[in-house]
């Protein structure tokens, strides 16, 4: 964040609000879901920002809104310094080439009636990227890049395993020759052994083509293998953001600490010794978020102040911001299980 050139992606105060149909007469009593509420992030060219949070926290909506696939209520999204939020659909079309997405569900995100060749050719055709006669060769090249045999071209998505389908999805995203890719939980539907294959592929492609990633996931252990910067989201807002090292070594927000402590260690001895912060309950409804700090209903260190006063995202170290009244300072007295130490159960 200290570089002098403008970041590839700069999102400022992004808001995505959905109106729910009212329950009263003639649609009165309408409620608003603030899926994303004042979110700001920046990603430098060639870097990866990991966006982490539980289901329903707004992380996927954020990814989609950045690509203008979800309606934006407010704020700006700048890709290569150009604000996307004010562009018309026609103005946006050439820019869409620069930004692509890989979806979570490798089964639902590929058209079952299209062959792999049709699926991967489509972006090339839509954006008129290669002369007609070079397109088949280009598709073959893309498939090789993602580790699929050329014989895959004429086959249909159902003939492939989950991991291979995700490779097809990645080839499709690459076909547009993008600068920026939103990876929306690209490995959460896959076996661990296949996850690491796909993650390695994504990293190799990033280095090879200088790609910039927004990596959306709910698993902090996976995010740490992929990201330079990490942002943790809760109920539509970022609660902590830092470099990977800072976030994993000195997490400040109790929610980040809880997420870290939920990651299982593949070692029974460490597991037995660990003191976990297991969050009770689930994410509250975004229709009616808790007062004060949104997290106070599940927070192990919540105090009276947290129920009334919403903390703002404040800087507590170089490039490290957290929105907790107690972040950066000494932990409050009433703290029962000290979350900061529970995940330091080093072997």
């Amino acid at each position: 964040m200290t570089s002098t050139t403008a970041p590839l992606l700069a999102v400022d105060d992004l808001r995505v609000h959905f109106q729910l149909p009212g329950t009263g007469w003639f649609g009165s009593g309408k409620q608003t879901v603030k899926a994303v509420d004042g979110l700001s992030i920046q990603i430098e060219r060639g870097q990866t920002l990991g966006l982490v949070g539980e289901s329903g926290c707004g992380k996927s909506t954020t990814g989609r809104a950045i690509l203008r696939l979800a309606p934006i209520t407010g704020g700006t999204v700048r890709l290569n310094s150009r604000d996307l939020t004010t562009l018309s659909a026609a103005e946006l079309r050439p820019i869409r080439r620069q930004m692509q997405i890989v979806f979570q569900d490798p089964f639902a995100s590929l058209n079952p009636r299209h062959t792999v060749e049709q699926i991967v050719t489509e972006p090339i055709w839509v954006h008129n990227l290669r002369p007609e006669r070079e397109r088949v060769a280009r598709v073959r090249e893309l498939l090789t890049l993602v580790g699929l045999p050329g014989s895959a071209m004429g086959r249909f998505p159902h003939e492939f395993s989950g991991g291979q389908r995700q490779r097809i999805g990645i080839a499709r995203a690459l076909a547009a020759e993008p600068d920026f890719i939103v990876l929306d939980e690209p490995v959460s539907a896959l076996d661990v052994s296949i996850q690491s294959q796909i993650l390695r592929l994504l990293l190799d492609l990033q280095v090879q083509f200088g790609l910039t990633y927004l990596f959306i996931a709910h698993d902090l252990a996976v995010v740490g293998q992929m990201s330079d910067q990490v942002a943790v989201m809760y109920l539509g807002r970022i609660v902590e953001t830092a470099t990977r090292e800072a976030l994993y070594q000195a997490p400040q927000h109790p929610y980040t600490q809880a997420l870290l402590s939920a990651v299982p260690y593949p070692d029974p001895e460490i597991e037995a010794k660990r003191r976990r912060v297991i969050l009770t309950g689930e994410v509250p409804s975004p229709v009616n978020p808790p007062s004060g700090c949104h997290f106070h209903t599940r927070c192990p260190i919540a105090a009276d102040r947290c129920r009334v006063e919403a903390p703002s995202l404040r800087t507590i170290g170089p490039g490290h911001q957290a929105s907790c009244h107690f972040a950066g300072g000494p932990p409050p007295e009433l703290q029962g299980a000290k979350p900061g130490t529970s995940l330091r159960a080093s072997p």
Binding site: V192, S196, L203, V222, G224, D228, V263, P268, I278
Partner: protein, 375 residues
């Protein structure tokens, strides 16, 4: 009544004084497909003791779910159980009548299926689901059944259980649905609970809650738990013993402590190294098992893992290894650490801690370790 001489039950845990509640021997499940006959489960043997958790781990298609469904005799067509025995409460489940089997399903042996959304009937309320089971198996009806159902919901940590009885599945979150599935499964206090990937569709925080809940219920009721997963990391803190499956066979089985400290089979070591860890963080630091499992219709003559193994020998390609004790004795069953590998990972380095070094070395060798930051 049950001989426990065969196959391991000596986990070294406090539960080893009790005989096994379940012993599966040489189980085989076949599927007739257009591309030929496929043996999805090929000679799997294991025992399950009361109060014990056995982790059954492997990739998609390795036969772990078919193994579990065999215990309920519910392998989906065209699959069928083709051989072996499943001894439970003094009877071989493979030879009893369908009627007797129905009395066991959901009552003595219960299943938490993989996908809690599709497993619940969308037009039945949560209460209907539970009351139905209580009626069928325990003859419980009316208000008695409803209050028992509410007790069960509160037992699995669902707030306002009375109100939730009238909720439909779609009104609940994924974690809540999974809790309902657990409430259903434990409603008749089964001797064995099979949990098939119970947390795969859930967030990490909810996953931790669900696993804690299963542990708690197990401690209270003394049931045996068969925990099926593709992620070795998940089972580490929650299993007494672990069996790793590959291509329909058990590749390695041991007590959890032993398996995680000294993985012998190369596949186990690989699976273990694949698990993302917080103490080994850094961009690009990860280990990959290359390739995918071979098609079951076209298994190689030797070890099924040979094509993906980085320590493959000629022997591995020509002869299939059988499950044997890790100290080299040919007879399986005498002790608890068994593996089917000709060139095991822990062969050269049997002292403690060596495996951690091995996996760390693998991580460095395979990843781009330029910004490695160990905890």
């Amino acid at each position: 009544m049950r001989s426990s001489s065969d196959v391991s039950n000596a986990s070294g845990n406090s539960t080893s004084t009790v005989g096994p509640v379940l012993s599966v021997r040489d189980l085989r499940v076949e599927f007739d497909t257009r591309r030929g006959r496929v043996r999805a489960v090929d000679g799997v043997s294991f025992t399950l003791n009361a109060g014990e958790t056995l982790g059954l781990v492997g990739e998609s298609g390795c036969g772990k779910t078919d193994t579990a469904l065999s215990l309920l005799r519910s392998v989906p067509a065209p699959g069928k159980i083709d051989g072996g025995s499943i001894e439970f409460e003094g009877r071989d489940l493979l030879s009893i009548s369908e009627r007797d089997m129905n009395r066991l399903r959901g009552k003595r042996i219960a299943l938490i299926p993989q996908d809690p959304l599709t497993a619940l009937n969308p037009v039945m309320t949560v209460g209907d689901h539970i009351v139905e089971v209580l009626d069928i198996h325990l003859g419980m009806r009316g208000e008695t059944a409803r209050s028992r159902a509410a007790d069960l919901l509160s037992r699995v940590g669902i707030p306002e259980p009375r109100k939730r009885l009238d909720a439909y599945p779609h009104q609940l979150s994924g974690g809540m649905r999974q809790r309902v599935m657990i409430a259903l499964a434990i409603s008749c206090e089964p001797a064995i609970l099979i949990a098939d990937e119970p947390t795969t569709a859930l967030d990490a925080t909810v996953q931790a809650q669900i696993l804690e809940l299963l542990d708690e219920i197990k401690r209270e009721t003394g049931m045996a738990l068969l925990l099926i997963t593709h992620n070795l990391g998940i089972v580490a803190g929650h299993c007494n013993r672990v069996a790793v499956m590959y291509c329909g066979r058990i590749a390695e089985t041991a007590s959890a402590g032993d398996l995680f400290r000294h993985p012998h089979h190369r596949y186990t070591a690989g699976l273990l190294a694949c698990v993302p860890r917080l103490d080994r963080q850094g961009k690009g630091i990860f280990f990959t098992i290359p390739g995918t499992p071979p098609e079951l219709t076209n298994l190689p003559p030797g070890c099924a893992f040979a094509s993906r193994c980085d320590a493959v020998t000629d022997h591995c390609r020509s002869e299939r290894p059988n499950l044997a004790h890790t100290n080299g004795s040919a007879v399986p069953g005498s002790t608890d650490h068994l593996m089917a590998c000709w060139n095991p990972a822990a062969k050269a380095s049997s002292d403690a801690g060596a495996d951690h070094q091995t996996s760390a070395r693998m991580a460095v060798a395979y990843g781009r370790a330029h910004d490695k930051s160990d905890a």
